[in-house]
C-alpha cells in the first residue's frame, strides 16, 4: 500500500416527490492507512436529500469502517407535509482513523418526522464524532424527532464525541435526544470467557449486538458483509 493519501470526494443528491420513498445504503471500507496512520483515503462526501412532495420519505443507512479521515453528513430537508427523514449509521474507527459524521434534519413542512440512530465504535487511538443538527422551522407544526447517539469505546486511548444541535422554532415540536457512552473492556470479554465464549467470538457478539439497530436496516446480503467487516476492522483491538 502507499504512504501518501488519496482523496475521495463524491456528491450524492436525492429528491423524493409526493409519496415517493428512497432508501440509500452505503458500506464503506476504503483503505484506512496503516497502524501508525500512514497512508489511507480522505473520504469527504456530500450527501443530501430533499422530500419535495407530501408524504415522501428518505432514509440513509451507512456503515463506515474504512478511510483515514471521513467527513460525511447525509441530510434530509423535510419540505413536504408528512414527510419522513431517517439516518442510520455505524461508524467504526481503529488505530489512527478519524470519523466525523452525522446528519442534518431540516423540518419545514407540517407533521414531518425524523429519526436518527448513530452508533460509533472507537478503538486504538482513533477519534469518532457524531455531529448533527435537528432544525424545526417556525411553520413546521407538529414536527417529531427522535435521536439516539451511542458511543462504544474499546480501550482508553480512543475518543468519542457527540455534538448534537437542536434548533426548535415551533412550540408544537417534540424532540427527543438520547445519548449513551459505554466501554467494552477486559471486564466484558472476561465475562464472556467465563461463560465459555472465546475472545474473538466475544468481540463479534458484542459489536454486532451494539450495531444491530442499524444493521437490520441494510438489505440482507449487505448486512452479512457488514457484520464481517465490523469484526475485521476491530481485529486485535482487545485482549
Amino acid at each position: 500500500m502507499r504512504d501518501e493519501h488519496q482523496l475521495h470526494a463524491a456528491v450524492v443528491e436525492l429528491v423524493a416527490h409526493t409519496k415517493a420513498e428512497i432508501k440509500y445504503s452505503t458500506v464503506q471500507n476504503w483503505y484506512p492507512g496503516d497502524k501508525e496512520g500512514k497512508g489511507g483515503i480522505y473520504n469527504f462526501v456530500t450527501k443530501r436529500g430533499i422530500c419535495m412532495g407530501d408524504s415522501a420519505k428518505i432514509s440513509w443507512t451507512q456503515v463506515e469502517t474504512g478511510s483515514a479521515i471521513t467527513w460525511k453528513y447525509p441530510s434530509v430537508i423535510l419540505k413536504g407535509d408528512n414527510s419522513i427523514g431517517e439516518f442510520y449509521s455505524v461508524a467504526v474507527t481503529n488505530n489512527r482513523q478519524q470519523a466525523d459524521t452525522g446528519t442534518k434534519m431540516i423540518h419545514i413542512g407540517k407533521n414531518t418526522k425524523s429519526r436518527i440512530v448513530s452508533k460509533g465504535i472507537s478503538a486504538g487511538k482513533s477519534q469518532n464524532s457524531y455531529r448533527g443538527l435537528v432544525e424545526v422551522h417556525r411553520r413546521a407544526e407538529n414536527a417529531r424527532n427522535f435521536s439516539q447517539c451511542d458511543s462504544l469505546l474499546m480501550g482508553d486511548k480512543c475518543g468519542a464525541h457527540t455534538f448534537p444541535y437542536l434548533e426548535i422554532k415551533n412550540s408544537t415540536a417534540q424532540v427527543e435526544h438520547e445519548a449513551t457512552t459505554s466501554k467494552i473492556g477486559e471486564d466484558q470479554i472476561f465475562y464472556c470467557n467465563q461463560r465459555g465464549i472465546d475472545t474473538e467470538a466475544a468481540v463479534a457478539l458484542i459489536v454486532n449486538g451494539y450495531a444491530k439497530e442499524v444493521l437490520k436496516q441494510l438489505p440482507m446480503e449487505f448486512a452479512v458483509e457488514a457484520q464481517k467487516l465490523l469484526a475485521i476492522s476491530l481485529e486485535g483491538s482487545v485482549g
Partner: protein
Amino acid sequence: MLSIRNLHAAIDGKEILKGLNLEVKAGEIHAIMGPNGSGKSTLASVLAGREEYEVTDGEVIYNGTDLLELSPEDRAREGIFLAFQYPVEIPGVSTTNFLKTAVNEVRKYRGQEPLDAVQFLTRMKEKMKLVNIDQALLSRSLNEGFSGGEKKRNEIFQLAMLEPKLAILDETDSGLDIDALRIVAEGVNKLRTRDNAVVLVTHYQRLLDYIVPDFVHVLYKGRIVKSGTKELALQLEEKGYDWIKEEVSA
C-alpha cells in the same frame, strides 16, 4: 473436586493471596466469609482465570487436571461457573442471545450437537421458572440498566442454564431485599445435586439461613485462618471479626 494448595497470587506486584488451602468435594457447600479486602474476590478471579492476577506459588487441581493451565473459557467449559460480584453490562446483546452462544460453545467443546432454537427455548422456559425471572428481562441487553437485584438473579439464571460442576458465587446476596434473597437461595438449592459443589462468598450470615453450608471458612489477609460449620457464621454475625484478628496475631 477442587483442591487448592498453598496458593499465592499477586496483582500489580502486590501479594493478595498468601498461601491459601481449600478442599471442596462434590456435593458440598462451602461458605467463605471475611472482612472487606481480605482476598475473597481475588480467589474467585484466580479460579476463573483472570489474567491480571499472577499466581506466584501453589497449585489448583480440579477433577484431576491442573486448573491454572487452562484458559478462562476452557475452565468454564470444564464446568466452573463464577457468579460475579459486579456483573458487567453488554449493550445490544440480549441475555438470550448471549446464553445461546455460551451454551452452544460449551456443547461444542464437549462434542455435543448445538441446541436448535426450539430446544434452547424449551430449556430456557424451564430454567426461567426455576429462578423466577421474567422473559422481558432476558430480551433486554445483558445486564444493561438492570437493578442490582436483577443482575444477581440473572447470574443465577445463567448458572441454571449452564449447569456447572463447581459454582462460585461472589456476594450474590449483597444488595438484595429479603424476597429477592429467598428467590436466589431457592434457585441455588434447587440446582444442588450430589455431583456439583458450591462456594459461597458472603458477608451476611442471613444467606446461610437459606443455603445451609457444610463448611464455613474465614479468609483474612489472603489466608484461610479459621474453618468450622455453620455455627461459625452465627458467631461472626454476633461478634464481628475482631476476635479472629486477635487470634491470628496472637
